[in-house]
């Protein structure tokens, strides 16, 4: 009788703790699985993969200069991601407070944020591995590269835009001159004088108007 009364509470406690432990571990595993199965915020990070692949290539070994260029490319992509994260953060927080977005999206976002921080540290470390002061400037350089790329993309659009505008304008002028010619033709029926003289005037002459501001 005495023995039983001691074993009973012990068994009770053991069962209780065991259940809790099993439940907690299952719960955590499921949560981790869920977080891992969430879609990443960004797509694959090609420059990072390329850099690390090159770094680990043995036969033949990749020269340092290419690795450095690959690291700059990696930092450039990182800068793009950091900017995206920073821009999105404020509005996402607001949306989360209002309940407009689910926890899943927020988890994905915080995971991405933590990842990019790790990534930045990693790049800085790699840069210092090449040259002791490079970590201070690699992200500045990368930022300029991002900006300059944008400027170049805009500059590339100019010729395209000029071509479309030119096509539109030519078409419009042709239409206008056709209408003009049509009128001229009907004029010819009535009056047979000097109708050919006005045909050349469809294109505005090369004469400049006085109003243009001077170049600076």
């Amino acid at each position: 009788m005495v023995k039983l009364s001691i074993i009973a509470p012990l068994v009770y406690i053991a069962v209780l703790v065991g259940t809790l432990a099993v439940f907690s571990s299952l719960y955590r595993k499921r949560k981790a699985n869920k977080a891992a199965s969430l879609e990443p915020w960004f797509g694959p990070h090609y420059p990072r993969d390329i850099y690390l692949t090159l770094l680990h290539q043995e036969n033949p070994k990749v020269p340092d200069n290419i690795l450095k260029a690959a690291l700059v490319r990696r930092a450039t992509e990182d800068i793009r991601r950091v900017v995206t994260i920073r821009q999105a953060k404020g509005s996402l927080q607001q949306l989360l407070q209002k309940g407009s977005i689910g926890d899943d999206l927020w988890t994905r976002f915080t995971v991405a944020e933590a990842e990019i921080e790790e990534e930045l540290k990693d790049v800085a470390m790699e840069a210092n591995g090449f040259s002791s002061e490079w970590a201070a400037s690699i992200f500045q350089s990368a930022n300029e590269i991002v900006q300059a790329t944008r400027v170049r993309e805009r500059a590339a659009e100019v010729a395209e835009q000029a071509a479309t505008e030119r096509a539109w304008w030519n078409e419009k002028r042709e239409r206008a001159s056709r209408e003009l010619l049509g009128e001229n033709n009907s004029d010819e029926d009535g009056v047979l004088v000097e109708s050919s003289g006005s045909r050349g005037a469809a294109r505005p002459g090369a004469a400049t108007r006085g109003k243009g501001k001077s170049a600076s």
Partner: protein
Amino acid sequence: MAQSSDVFVVVPIEMDPSTKAIQALSSSNDPLLTRELEALNNLHQNLKSAPGITNGIPPPPTSVGPKLSTQIERMRQTGNNAFRKQNYAEAVDLYTLAISMALRRPPWEPSALLREELQQLYANRAQAHISINNWPEALADVNASIDFKRVGNPKAHWRKGRCLKEMGRYEEAKEALEFGLEFGNDPELANMLKEVNEALSKRKL
């Protein structure tokens, strides 16, 4: 899948031993990878051919190669001279040359400088185009100039208004001029707006 910081995906690439170019293995046909590799090889070539870089590391964006800046500036001045002599087509060519020179700047140099040079060159080229009645080309140039510099660029806003007005697009001209006036009052902009408004009301009659 969340990417851990010590894991990476091995991408199918190799180095061409003679040209030192990185290329994708023929088995992969991922356009994104190919594009990234192209950018990498370009950057590598850029770094290799840039004067003053010996260790393959881009210098911090505080210094600029002075040679290219003077070349661009000189080309711009030549363009301005041609413009003053009313050789407008020649001025267009010279500005075009200066623009392509500016675009050849190494990408790690201060982008603000590139932006400033380009906005000026495009605005000037637009003026040359305007002088020979090339409205569409002038419009495209001036749009770029405004995109690069909105504030303190009344000439570009004025030229945009002018181009649109000359092409008979009064509504757009009005919008452009009003937009330009948001960045500070300018009597010539206001004048042009008045003209455009008159043309608009005449058309409605």
